[in-house]
Symmetry: C2
Subunit: 432 residues, 2 copies
């Protein structure tokens, strides 16, 4: 656990670790050391809480790049709605976190802003697309971070880095001021070392924003939380378990034992791999088609500052016809049936967040990184990744809880209970 | 008011009026006269309630045409979910109601199944796309009817025909067994002579269907209803009022006086015509792109049984690119902001359902038929059209109530209160 206890501690960790792992791409000067941050963020005292913000979320006066080189010098004119809520709560923003280019991927090997290295294993990915946010938390550079999550982009890097990543119900956190990837799938999420910290930040930023068309009215999330009454968990069937890497499978089997000991009722549910793969591809096409619109100006004028890799992906989606996009949306609609089948008769899904642990940048990128996470985006359901204890020196493993749309308070309560069962105790900065 | 008091009365009205107005395109034999309907619908007694069902909703053993000639001989293998609920409630289905071809339009001048004439004015439209359903109710052929509503298709014909048309919240009634137009916009709706009858049918069919991905969990709608506590109504601004036909404007001004007398607080809200027009066009493109998929087989083999008019519309949507469809979806997303602006500070919108009364088939089709109705489809909000008293011999005028998503019970209660204020008293079958 790397939670910084003071603002100075956060900035000390940034100074010591960021040059190597590149979690933050724009670092604010420590307001405590006299550099004039107040000029940039007027009118606010600086409280204990330190926050990193993903680069696709606008922070007034700082670059709003979304990981896209063409936006390197785009300075945000105003705060995103969620950032404004952090300011209202007198939190200190320490800097902008690195991310996958345009948030479309889960490795954070950014062609414009560089790789974000895993805080415990240099040369390995921290995951993505909110890789910088998760790495910053695991390295103690901030107490919590904002990320975004379109197919798993908060939970995947949280799992790889051994921290907590939460994607609430669709529409709970305003996306006003967030660079869009896909309006239907985009969510703002929160990353921190503990569920309690995630809940605290969520309770502050999950406020209805009447100016955000995608925002929905929900009951407020309490800062203190409640005791979970959920005892029935959906767990992976044997076939799906077989697709897990050895490390994840071992941690998963161990976790199931702990859950049974704690009195949870576990029910196997079949993972519909084929339907999820089809839906995941559909989700990509939806993102690509929308990026073709949001980046239209840049692409029209030659695409400078957009990688060839991203341009190719966008071209793939842009070449689809309207009826083909309609088919993609229908696949996403039908994901609701997959989620219902997985939840059937249980309160929540308890599954690994990812089928594998973090991998070397030199290794091929697994196609199934988002297989367990994307359903929450397709359906709007809340989902949270919590870390499990692993042996000293091993890479972290994360477990995901997913529950019906709107049950954010319940999933946070359940996550806090299971978090203590799995007793995360990660090596501190093993190789940073 | 034409509500048939017995099954015999409904079938007598069908025999007398349907040959002329063509509300029903497939008529069941009266089960009371000994023709073996029980063979088609086994195991059920025949209760008082008589129901007409729009031709795009599957009734086992009957043609499931969706108004498309190519489906003239497509017999439904099973009931739509909502039809099965009617059967469970021992209701009698009297036949399949005529509709606009593929539900894409609001006139019900069907190239394959003929025109549905206005029950009080031969040669005039009954509206659409659920024109047959509304005309059947106004002509006393059934106590209630099922329709569908993608941009106003239950409420527009209900307004033209002087009956009640209700489109509940998105996802409240399963669309399983309903020929899709657009998954995002399609709703099953209910048409009857009174709000009480609409509520009774809705309470029966608005049951969560786990097999329908688009269905959402809501509290049940009670059969008895409740007393409305809503007093604040949004009403049209002066500019928008000016776009109403003289008949509708007169009825509207009269209705406002009645509402004020009854203690309602009326607040003018600006109608954003430009944004609504853009969203309406976007909605059409979404429908056309989806129809290109659902009718792909037929269109590929020459398109026989699909009118040239519909083929042209589909070709228009099909020629759009995926990014263009994404823009259309974004326009629909933003309709939520228009609705919020209209509802701001009030409980519900009270507006005319349509800017005009029914018109002659020979007259040009007004472009703004769905201007006041489509927002409810774009946002998922519940909306109901109720008839107002008009002078003897005049064509009916309908008023629409729209309220936030999920407030179906409240909007029904409000509609029942206002229904009695507006005291509909239509001429009985003036020219049928």
């Amino acid at each position: 656990m790397q939670t910084p206890n003071t603002i100075d501690e956060a900035f000390a960790n940034i100074a010591r670790k960021n040059p190597r792992i590149n979690a933050l791409v724009d670092v604010i000067s420590n307001p405590n050391t006299g550099v004039s941050l107040k000029a940039k963020m007027p009118g606010k005292a600086y409280q204990y809480w330190t926050m990193a913000v993903k680069s696709n979320i606008a922070v007034q006066g700082l670059p709003h790049t979304a990981g896209i080189g063409a936006y390197r010098h785009r300075i945000a004119n105003e705060d995103a709605f969620c950032v404004a809520r952090l300011r209202d709560a007198e939190m200190t923003i320490v800097g902008m976190a690195n991310m996958e280019e345009a948030a479309l991927g889960a490795v954070t090997d950014n062609p414009h802003f560089g790789k974000t290295h895993h805080p415990h294993q240099y040369g390995f990915t921290a995951g993505g697309s909110s890789g910088g946010s998760a790495a910053a938390i695991a390295a103690g550079m901030a107490r919590a971070a904002l990320g975004t999550d379109t197919m798993g982009s908060c939970r995947i890097p949280a799992a790889y880095c051994g921290v907590v990543g939460f994607k609430p119900s669709y529409g709970r956190i305003s996306v006003h001021g967030v660079e869009p990837l896909s309006r239907r799938l985009d969510h703002v999420g929160v990353i921190a070392n503990t569920v309690a910290d995630v809940r605290a930040v969520t309770s502050i930023i999950a406020v209805f924003d009447a100016a955000c068309a995608d925002c929905r009215v929900f009951d407020a999330i309490s800062e203190v939380g409640k005791t979970s009454t959920w005892r029935r968990l959906s767990v992976l069937d044997a076939v799906a378990r077989a697709t897990l890497s050895a490390e994840v499978r071992a941690a998963y089997e161990h976790a199931l034992v702990r859950l049974k000991q704690a009195g949870f009722e576990l029910t196997e549910r079949v993972f519909n791999q084929e339907a999820v793969t089809a839906a995941r591809r559909a989700g990509l096409i939806i993102c690509e088609a929308e990026l073709a619109n949001s980046l239209a100006e840049i692409l029209k004028s030659g695409g400078e500052g957009v990688s060839i890799f991203l341009r190719d992906m966008i071209a793939f989606g842009a070449a689809k016809s309207a009826p083909q996009l309609a088919v993609a949306h229908a696949r996403i609609d039908n994901a609701e049936l997959i989620l219902r089948a997985q939840l059937d008769g249980t309160d929540a899904i308890f599954w690994p967040t990812t089928p594998q642990t973090a991998f070397a940048f030199s290794a091929p990128v697994p196609a199934n990184q988002a297989d367990f996470t994307c359903l929450a985006n397709f359906t709007g359901a809340p989902a949270i990744s919590i870390p499990a204890r692993v042996t000293e020196g091993a890479l972290p493993v994360g477990f995901q809880l997913m529950s019906p749309t709107g049950s954010d308070e319940n999933i946070l309560a359940l996550a806090e209970e299971i978090e203590s069962l799995l007793s995360p105790s990660l090596p501190n900065g093993v190789s940073t």
